[in-house]
């Protein structure tokens, strides 16, 4: 316990050093985006994360991906996915989605038993669909807005709301709470490497698609979180809130119905209370080196 306390303290020390460094170097530039008031600071943390990723995490994940057979990799993925189903179920319950919560519970029961401690995902084969939930999404569902966008060292994209959610996710994480220290560290490491390996393709696509990776990733995170909070069908109504953002219609193209606007205005609508819950890394889409 003392050991873990000490390591926690030294970790905090490292983090605050990084944060100070960020403030001293990064605050000069801001793009003036109302969703991202700390852009200068965030960009410097983003740069730090990129450097760590390029020098350590990405090469290690590549080696992991090349060295291990597919079946081992999917076993690792499934194992952690199964553990995560416990709190996905809890979050679905907190959001009042009883049937989804029950499905998650069934998934955990099936996969833990006949799936060999979660290594095989039989539940998906049986039609129990995997969900994506966390505390940040639950708060969003309850009406809590995004708050400002943040990039955290190592954890990457977040918002004020999602940061609190993430702290809770980590707090209740079964791997963290119920495994012996050595096993816990090994498992956390494996989990992070496995997740990064799964995102190698996606981060390459990001690399190709983006003019400014920081902006691309931020906007994708915010869109993605909004989409997750609404389980894939966000409301399409905020469209006409900001007339300046209306696309210009041309004679050759029919007038836009409202819902087209809604999709396009997601980034611009942060000023609205309803859509203030926009929030960032396109989970399976973009690089999201998190330890969830």
């Amino acid at each position: 316990m003392t050991q873990s306390k000490r390591s926690f303290r030294s970790r905090c020390g490292l983090l605050s050093a990084i944060v100070l460094l960020g403030f001293s170097t990064g605050c000069a530039t801001t793009g003036g985006d109302s969703r991202d008031p700390f852009e200068g600071f965030n960009r410097s943390i983003y740069g730090f994360n990129q450097a760590i990723d390029e020098s350590v995490l990405k090469p290690v994940s590549k080696a992991y991906k090349d060295a291990l057979p597919q079946i081992v990799q999917s076993g690792v993925r499934n194992f952690f996915s199964n553990i995560a189903d416990i709190f996905i179920s809890v979050n679905n319950l907190l959001q009042g989605k009883v049937i989804d919560a029950a499905t998650d519970g069934m998934r955990f029961a099936v996969n833990t038993t006949i799936g060999g401690l979660g290594v095989l995902d039989w539940a998906s084969e049986m039609g129990f669909e995997k969900h994506n939930e966390d505390f940040g999404q639950t708060f969003g569902r309850w009406g809590v807005g995004d708050g400002p966008y943040f990039v955290w060292p190592l954890f990457g994209s977040s918002t004020a709301r999602d940061s609190v959610g993430r702290l809770l996710d980590i707090r209740v994480d079964p791997v963290r709470n119920h495994a012996p220290v050595a096993a816990r560290n090994a498992m956390t490491l494996t989990r992070v490497i496995g997740m990064r390996a799964d995102l190698l393709d996606a981060s390459r696509i990001l690399e190709e698609a983006a003019l400014d990776k920081y902006v691309f990733e931020r906007d994708a995170y915010l869109q993605r979180r909004r989409n997750l909070i609404y389980d894939g069908s966000p409301p399409r109504t905020s469209a006409r809130a900001n007339p300046a953002e209306q696309p210009v219609s041309e004679s050759s193209v029919p007038a836009e119905p409202e819902f087209k606007q809604a999709a396009l205005d997601a980034p611009a609508a942060a000023s609205e209370s309803g859509s203030a819950m926009l929030s960032a890394s396109a989970g399976e889409g973009l690089k999201n080196v998190d330890a969830r």
């Binding site: 993925r77 390459r204 691309f216 300046a244 819902f259 399976e284 889409g285």
Partner: protein, 213 residues
């Protein structure tokens, strides 16, 4: 030319026109969800059989996307929506260049995404729309073990030459919306010509690599 000959030519012309017209009619009549399914499966099948593409021939996959997928996208609408308010401030020539460069960028991105997802299981969701709708969303889900499926949503509108996609949302992330901020920033900093240059430079960069499986 004799009278008879020219009458024959007229008949021939009418037949050709008729055939072309009926093709156009078929293209128009194909429902958007059927179109997405047909095109996706066809492209995936070609990739599955093509050893060159599988071993990382990026040019070939780009050609394939240009031949099979590109005709079903409305790039001028996509560009207009992504450039948003700055579109009106652009000259016709700038509009043309923006559309051309954005198209190239999207084709490249789409091609490498395709090579990633080619081995996954595609689930084409039934279309939820009225027959009279002219603007619909076609939903595709890509299953991946141990994680929730990736959603691919194609926003499509009906045009005289069939249904055309004007946005793709991957996992809820709209491509057009995502480029909006980037484009706006670039235009604020370097003007419309700056954005065109930026896109062109990006497109001239090294061809994207396909990771070997």
């Amino acid at each position: 030319m004799s009278m008879q000959g020219s009458r024959m030519w007229v008949a021939f012309g009418a037949t050709v026109a008729g055939i072309l017209f009926s093709f156009a009619a078929i293209a128009q009549d194909v429902l958007p969800d059927v179109l997405v399914k047909t095109v996706t499966l066809e492209v995936i099948e070609i990739i599955g059989k093509d050893k060159d593409i599988q071993s990382g021939n990026q040019k070939k996959i780009v050609d394939l996307v240009e031949a099979k997928v590109l005709p079903h996208f409305n790039f001028s609408a996509m560009t207009r929506l992504a450039v948003a308010t700055n579109w009106d401030k652009s000259t016709p020539d700038q509009k043309k260049q923006l559309t051309e460069e954005f198209k190239t960028l999207l084709v490249r991105t789409y091609s490498s995404a395709l090579s990633v997802y080619r081995e996954q299981k595609f689930d084409f969701r039934p279309l939820r729309a009225k027959p009279t709708d002219t603007d619909v969303t076609v939903q595709v889900r890509i299953a991946q073990g141990g994680r929730e499926p990736v959603t691919l949503d194609y926003d499509m509108e009906k045009t005289p030459s069939g249904w055309k996609a004007y946005d793709v949302r991957v996992g809820g992330v709209s491509l057009v919306a995502n480029y909006r901020t980037e484009f706006a920033n670039e235009i604020r900093a370097n003007g419309i010509d700056g954005l065109i240059k930026g896109l062109a430079a990006k497109n001239k960069g090294p061809a994207p690599k396909v990771e070997k499986k």
